[in-house]
Symmetry: C2
Subunit: 120 residues, 2 copies
């Protein structure tokens, strides 16, 4: 499947047919004003997640100074649990709670239907 | 449950215990440069959705000039289907495809687990 510029903007292409039956982890967050190491840690987590078994892809949007949403896609609940327990991820999560996030909301969801438009 | 300023920023409070078993509709989109009526239509859709049976809440984040993510939460798949078939919503969706969106990705998901942090 060719990667168009549109697909590059959102991340690598996610085939809807491939997402049905997979899992989405929705992470909505509000940052504190403490920047110390945040950008580097966030980049590292994206890089590390992509190396985990069952990782499919990620979408991330943040309003400057406002809310952010990151949605990661995984093959199974077991893959999500393994990533959750990854030592470096767990350590970064603790730092996040202490320093970087005012609050967050997280949902683990099973994808039942998926569509796209305009990504031909 | 008191509404704190944190909760106001993201939208009305979503109780994690209340979300388990409910549905999330993830809508990720990239806008065109055509503005004609978009803001008004988007506001109207948020207002109208909130009046539908089974509506729980919404979260929305957009990067200026970039990607946007809107996640709406619903009690059941039947509620989502009814909203999908709502005449005004269907008409606005058509306009969106013709004018406002370069592309979008949409997933309908069942929430299996939910947490939050910092929203006391």
């Amino acid at each position: 499947m060719p990667i168009t510029s549109k697909q590059n903007e959102a991340g690598s292409y996610l085939n809807p047919a491939d997402l049905v039956g997979a899992y989405a982890v929705i992470f909505l967050s509000k940052r504190t004003e403490i920047d110390a190491g945040y950008g580097q840690a966030a980049d590292r987590m994206v890089e590390l997640a992509a190396q985990q078994p069952g990782y499919i892809g990620v979408r991330s949007v943040r309003e400057p100074g406002g809310l952010g949403v990151t949605i990661s896609y995984w093959r199974s609940e077991a893959d999500i649990k393994a990533w959750r327990q990854h030592l470096e991820h767990a350590a970064t999560r603790e730092t996040g709670r202490k320093q970087w996030y005012q609050y967050y909301e997280l949902q683990v969801c099973k994808i039942e239907r998926a569509y796209d438009f305009g990504l031909d």
